[in-house]
Assembly symmetry: C2
Homo-oligomer: 163 residues x 2
């Protein structure tokens, strides 16, 4: 098992592989032929590289990015959570619950003053408020919750690696 979530580099990458990844990162629906043109390779050679990158897990998937604002997800927040860690079994229970909440779009175990940092998305302030009060607050061992409501997203390049 992979307890630490480590992923070792499984293949040798050359400059063309990096160009392929960079291009597909910016335009995931580019046709294989256009991609082949851009990296100066024949379509078949290009496709084989893309398949290899996919098979080795370097390309983990392709996704449409939707407009959260337009779809009604108007509020984002960063929430720091401290739990009572005197009960080790609460940790797993906490993570399982956190994972099941749709409002939690990302969750991290962190070093520092808090135990967890949660990234929250909700359809407005009332929905966020009731999430905190009725869901987060009721988790076992909850000790402290500190919310930072996002007023403006200044940079949004998560999921875009600077290769």
């Amino acid at each position: 098992m992979d307890l630490l979530g480590e992923r070792k580099l499984r293949m040798q990458l050359d400059a063309i592989d990096f160009r392929i990844m960079t291009i597909l990162q910016a335009n995931g629906r580019l046709s294989n032929q256009d991609l082949a043109d851009k990296v100066a390779l024949s379509p078949s050679a290009c496709l084989r590289r893309v398949r290899t990158l996919e098979d080795n897990g370097l390309i983990r998937g392709y996704h449409a990015r939707l407009d959260a604002q337009q779809l009604g997800f108007e509020l984002e927040a960063i929430v720091h959570v401290t739990v009572d860690h005197s009960r080790p079994d609460w940790h797993d229970a906490f993570l399982q619950q956190v994972n099941s909440f749709d409002e939690v779009v990302a969750a991290y175990v962190v070093s520092g003053a808090s135990n967890y940092v949660l990234h929250i998305r909700a359809k407005g302030l009332p929905a966020f408020s009731s999430f905190v009060v009725e869901k987060l607050n009721k988790l076992p061992g909850m000790r402290d919750i500190c919310s930072y409501i996002v007023l403006k997203t200044v940079k949004d390049k998560l999921g875009e690696l600077p290769l």
Copy 2:
């Protein structure tokens, strides 16, 4: 100009539109024909809907998701920053600088104890350390920096809306 970054809903969406978005969100490279099958529409009708969703900005793009660990980005951190806001012009300067740093993958202006929350990705602890000391610390008006190093990513659904 759009000072608040608001995006109004520009079109009426029905159940099929939501299914299309959900499917493309999970598999951005699905062929139009397969997508049409899944939503029980003819390929041409399906393609027209997808184009409309793209044109109205509901689908904002398609992107390959790469494996950050395997590509050497081993360290993630949430960094809270407080700046001296007695000088209004420092705000824009700060944001501009923050945007130019590759290590900053996301940046938010937040309400609460801190002014900004930064999401950092670096190729290891030394790189992160030198980023904080040599870049962040030297920004004008910097008052306080509080780092939370990510020990484990428990949930990672940013960019996946629960429709």
